[in-house]
């Protein structure tokens, strides 16, 4: 119980820290939303009127406190740049809520593909005595990690889209209109995300398995006459999975926080793209909430990883 309370307190502190940092960042960087909205049509009168309308004429501290008060009340404010209809701006909650499923499904699919392929591959690799297979896997995984994400996206597009015609590149299908089509389209960006992650995860699993195989308890088990298979699956994998879990956690956090490049290449309207466009248009309410969301996700994922660590590794639990 104490553990949970502690975790929640740290979560709150981090979120507070992040929100202040993001607010400060917007005070520092050049360019402001008023110029962004009015563009080259800006006249001093319209600029002033708009500043007043958005509440930007107030001192920074007052603005931050107002914003914080509203967020605590559950009011995330409205976007400066996206309009909902003729005279209302889009509420941040609605805007993000709309984009979130895209990113979440993308994360789910890519992590799913990664786990499905990387875990068996890593185990097979660690267990193999075949030196040729070892060499091939080594080169393949190294290569998969060496391909730049943007380049990989293009390659996937050309291979699956243009050559094999398995999907229409760029023709994103909204989850609201056709869920099947949506998932079908997402599989390909998910593959582009998964390829390097498979390489990384498989290597991680293999390395940590090999490390565990040289440890004392394995030697003991061997001397007791346990079969290699039994040693691998009963004893070693359980320990070898530990660093892999941290790793998978990082991958999940990374993808849920928005895969900017892949979203761009595959024209996916997800969180990553929203963040980039909101930063470049200085849409502060959107950026602030998105950063808090990303931080929140990252922390929660690590928290879950931490709990799993404790469950799986008795040495930590005892401490």
């Amino acid at each position: 119980m104490k553990y949970f309370v502690k975790k929640i307190v740290t979560l709150i502190i981090t979120l507070l820290l992040v929100s202040i940092l993001a607010f400060l960042a917007f005070q520092i960087i050049p360019g402001d939303v008023v110029h962004s909205i009015l563009g080259t049509e800006a006249t001093p009168e319209r600029e002033e009127a708009l500043r007043e309308e958005l509440g930007l004429d107030k001192p920074p501290i007052e603005r931050y406190l107002n914003w914080g008060k509203n967020v605590l009340r559950g009011d995330f404010g409205v976007s400066y740049r996206y309009s909902k209809n003729m005279n209302e701006m889009m509420p941040v909650k609605e805007l993000i809520g709309d984009k979130l499923p895209v990113t979440l499904w993308l994360a789910l699919l890519s992590v799913g593909i990664t786990v499905l392929i990387a875990i068996p591959l890593g185990v097979l690799w660690a267990g193999t005595k075949n030196k040729f297979l070892d060499g091939v896997l080594n080169v393949l995984t190294q290569t998969s990690m060496a391909i730049p994400a943007f380049f990989l996206g293009i390659l996937v597009t050309y291979l699956f889209g243009i050559a094999l015609k398995m999907f229409s590149p760029g023709a994103y299908v909204s989850y609201k209109t056709n869920f099947g089509g949506f998932i079908h389209y997402l599989i390909f960006p998910a593959i582009a995300i998964a390829i390097p992650k498979i390489g990384m995860t498989a290597r991680f699993l293999r390395n940590s398995t090999l490390t565990e195989l040289t440890s004392d308890y394995v030697r003991t088990a061997r001397s007791k006459g346990a079969s290699e298979k039994r040693i691998l699956f009963k004893h070693v994998l359980r320990n070898a999975m530990l660093p892999v879990i941290t790793f998978l956690g990082m991958i999940i956090a990374e993808v849920v926080a928005g895969s900017i490049v892949v979203e761009q290449v595959f024209a996916l309207p997800g969180i990553g793209r929203l963040l980039i466009s909101a930063i470049s248009t200085r849409d502060f309410p959107v950026v602030e909430i998105l950063i808090l969301y990303i931080t929140f996700v990252v922390i929660i994922v690590y928290f879950v990883v931490d709990v799993l660590y404790r469950v799986l590794d008795p040495r930590i639990r005892e401490k």
């Binding site: 981090t14 960042a25 290569t143 990690m145 391909i147 660093p243 930063i279």
Partner: protein, 275 residues
């Protein structure tokens, strides 16, 4: 001699990873160093007549939309990119080792404080971070390195920290503690060498990511400035010509693959050599 035996890891057999890695990497270094002093063509001079020339003997990698020799530009860009990514990884890995070791091994209040800051940086978009750093310190390569260095630190801290947590209670460490070995010695002599296999993977990934993150920044106008080129900025410039002049995008793309793969093979080879 079984030179082409991929598995040559035992005994006196030739270490194929080391050889391939060393050849690939030194070739890149050689090209980058030559590129500082000499390139076959000017890297900036334009030619309206020679736009989009396909690779040939006179232009090994073809020419770009301004008729510039892509091979010459890649020669220059390799140096710039390598320098940036090595510095970024050096900064973030060094900070990552120190912070990761301390937080992982000791835990407690230091751990909590450092990890909160790391969490905060982790949630913070690197582009926004770069914009902030550039508005404070101004433009220039060193600030791109600084921004990316900060952005890359959290992942190194986490990896190192995780490994230190794993190893701090390992039998041999407990024994060392009982024998009265000093803490810095335990941290950096007993534990650190044992995490290198894991750590190297992160370093090679980091190098790759640094090259690409820089290209993302160039694309947004906060990276290295034209007509100077990095592999990443060449890649983003070449995007629009993917279908009509594929060599334009393949040249910097495959060069990145080559560099990262070479480094990875090299580190793999070094790992095997040590055993």
């Amino acid at each position: 001699m079984k030179v082409f035996n991929l598995s040559a890891s035992k005994g006196k057999k030739v270490n194929i990873y080391l050889i391939i890695g060393a050849v690939m990497t030194s070739l890149v270094f050689l090209i980058a160093i030559i590129g500082i002093f000499w390139t076959p063509y000017s890297t900036t001079a334009m030619s309206a007549r020679e736009r989009f020339a396909a690779p040939s003997w006179s232009h090994l990698f073809g020419t770009d939309n301004f008729g510039r020799d892509i091979f010459s530009r890649v020669m220059k860009a390799v140096g710039t990119s390598a320098l940036i990514s090595v510095l970024v990884v050096a900064i973030s890995a060094a900070v990552g080792i120190v912070l990761g070791a301390i937080t992982g091994y000791f835990g407690g209040i230091v751990d909590s404080v450092v990890m909160r800051v790391i969490d905060a940086i982790n949630g913070f978009p690197s582009i926004l971070l770069a914009l902030v750093i550039i508005s404070i310190f101004g433009k220039g390569r060193q600030n791109v390195v600084l921004a990316l260095g900060i952005a890359f630190t959290p992942s190194f801290v986490r990896i190192v920290r995780g490994e230190f947590i794993r190893l701090r209670d390992a039998d041999y460490i407990v024994r060392a503690r009982l024998m009265g070995v000093t803490k810095p010695r335990i941290l950096f002599v007993h534990i650190l060498p044992n995490i290198f296999s894991t750590f190297w993977v992160s370093v090679t990934i980091g190098l790759n990511n640094a090259i690409l993150a820089e290209s993302g920044l160039s694309y947004l106008g906060i990276g290295v400035q034209a007509p100077d080129a990095t592999l990443g900025s060449m890649l983003s410039d070449a995007q629009g010509y993917m279908s009509s002049s594929p060599w334009y995008v393949l040249a910097p793309g495959l060069t990145i693959v080559w560099i990262v793969l070479g480094m990875a093979m090299l580190s793999e080879g070094i790992g095997k050599f040590k055993k």
